[in-house]
């Protein structure tokens, strides 16, 4: 009888040989299960998108708490982002006397890349994590089963309004963030480089294309969808009481942030 039949390679000291492949296999299976779960959730959401199935009260409640209440933190992030772009560019602008380009450079990078990305990461931390924690708590305290027991579809009632609210508010917050970032950049350029707001804005308007702004909005929409799907999926997949809620929030934030960077990379590469 060989070592395989005796199970020595599996269970004995030599079992360490199989530890890595087993670990790898388990991780791949877990990842496949999560990707499949998110895909199924997306399908379930898409088939429930008819206006008659959307709970308007839940939708408006989520628009308010996820979007309106995020405006202050998003505005603060955007204002600093705009300012930081100008501060980073300042030494080169002064060295090459390129004041006429500072408006374009700052707005180009903010609108296309940094604005949507940083807003998405803040949104993920504030709204995505909160959403996973709320759904996870509902799951482990049987509130999701209670909805089913009341003949109310949890996907229609809980998930669809949240996904619509998160996707739409990410786009709205990106527009607000772009405007505030522009203000922050104008102010910093005026104070630090003595570039007048008129020169800054004319530089931006002359050289920026509508698509530079549009690309940022497309990114925001997809970032919002990524955060919404991940946070709802991990929330509804929560098990194991309070520690399980903590694990779900952690997994959701990490998966959403990773997804945002992957989507950003692909979009920047393609578009």
């Amino acid at each position: 009888m060989g070592p395989y039949e005796r199970g020595e390679l599996m269970a004995g000291p030599d079992g360490a040989l199989l530890a890595f492949p087993r670990f790898l296999g388990e991780r791949v299976l877990a990842l496949a299960s999560q990707v499949g779960g998110v895909g199924i959730l997306l399908k379930d959401v898409l088939v429930r998108l008819s206006p008659s199935q959307i709970d308007r009260l839940e939708l408006f409640r989520n628009l308010g708490r996820m979007g309106v209440k995020s405006v202050p933190i998003i505005s603060a992030t955007a204002a600093f982002t705009g300012g930081i772009m100008v501060i980073q560019a300042a030494p080169f602008v002064q060295q090459f006397q390129a004041e006429a380009f500072i408006g374009w450079a700052a707005t180009f990078t903010t609108f296309r890349e940094l604005g949507p990305l940083l807003i998405a990461l803040i949104f993920n931390g504030r709204v995505g994590a909160n959403n996973t924690a709320e759904l996870g708590t509902m799951k482990v305290t049987d509130q999701v089963d209670a909805l089913r027991a009341l003949s109310i579809d949890p996907v229609s009632y809980l998930v669809v309004p949240r996904i619509l609210a998160m996707v739409s508010m990410m786009v709205v917050l990106c527009v607000i963030g772009d405007a505030v970032a522009l203000g922050g950049a104008v102010l910093t350029a005026d104070l630090l480089l003595d570039v007048s707001p008129n020169l800054f804005l004319s530089s931006a308007v002359e050289r920026l294309e509508v698509w530079d702004f549009g690309l940022g909005l497309v990114k925001s929409l997809l970032f919002g969808l990524m955060i919404a799907l991940m946070s709802c999926y991990y929330g509804l997949a929560t098990k194991g009481g309070a520690p399980g809620v903590g694990r779900a929030v952690n997994a959701s934030v990490v998966a959403s942030a990773s997804g945002v960077f992957i989507v950003d990379y692909l979009l920047t590469f393609i578009l």
């Binding site: 305290t141 049987d142 509130q143 089963d145 089913r148 027991a149 003949s151």
Partner: protein, 248 residues
């Protein structure tokens, strides 16, 4: 026949919880399912509304075999067979009135204002109208349970499943809950299936009792049958003795 459970088996991983449970429950009956913790009492009633699916066996709710219905096909069954969960499961983000109004808004096509008006009347029936605008977290366990009962009754179900309705309640609240359950059966003809190990409840309001042990029905009978049984396992349970043949 209101409920018929035929040879139901259910395992969770290696644990074989139900090993062929069969029961028949008459309309308007106040039927108790009792047994030690973890014996599968809650598992049985969750099967009746499709929250769990049996590995084997059949479950009939007012003549409809529910174990193979899809989630969507189960909705009509759940509207006539309501459930009050052990932990109340009120929605934290809503007030008590909004909790009770939710099924009315979703299934009766009522506006929020109409649903809230009716919800206040439903809360009055369980003496909770004063707390209509309170959030569940502001209430004690007993009060939460009464609101949960009001919510379960909003769609006027013919069957109500109670999962340990008196657990964690003070004695007065527990007896009030018992009286409410008995009133549902006597006055409104509702079939009540109560999962419990509260001996006072069992021996004050039950019409019939089934005791689960080792995944099967150990004894099925009236209060009198349980009081006079010679079965040592049953006697140990109803007498609450630590010593005896019962394996936990």
């Amino acid at each position: 026949m209101s409920i018929r459970i035929v040879d139901v088996h259910k395992s969770f991983g290696e644990k074989h919880i139900l090993r062929g449970v069969s029961l028949e429950i008459e309309p308007g009956e106040c039927f108790f399912i009792i047994g030690a913790s973890g014996v599968g009492k809650s598992v049985i009633i969750k099967h009746l509304i499709g929250l769990l699916r049996p590995d084997k066996g059949e479950l009939y709710v007012e003549g409809v075999e529910v174990s193979k219905l899809s989630e969507k096909e189960l909705y009509p069954v759940r509207m006539k067979c309501a459930m009050v969960f052990q932990n109340s499961t009120l929605f934290d983000s809503m007030t008590c009135a909004e909790n009770v109004a939710l099924p009315l808004r979703k299934h009766r096509g009522m506006s929020m204002n109409e649903a809230l008006k009716e919800a206040n009347e439903r809360l009055a029936a369980v003496r909770m109208e004063r707390f209509a605008d309170a959030k569940p977290a502001e209430l004690g366990d007993g009060m939460q349970k009464r609101v949960a009962i009001a919510r379960a009754l909003t769609l006027d179900p013919s069957i109500v499943l109670f999962d340990e309705p008196t657990t964690s309640l003070d004695p007065v609240s527990a007896r009030r809950t018992d009286a409410l359950i008995r009133e549902l059966c006597d006055r409104y003809g509702v079939t009540a299936i109560v999962v419990s190990h509260d001996l006072t409840s069992i021996f004050s309001i039950a019409d019939r009792i089934a005791m689960l042990y080792n995944g099967t029905v150990r004894l099925l009978g009236t209060q009198q049958d349980f009081k006079t049984t010679d079965d040592e396992v049953v006697r140990q349970f109803i007498e609450g003795r630590a010593e005896g043949p019962m394996q936990l």
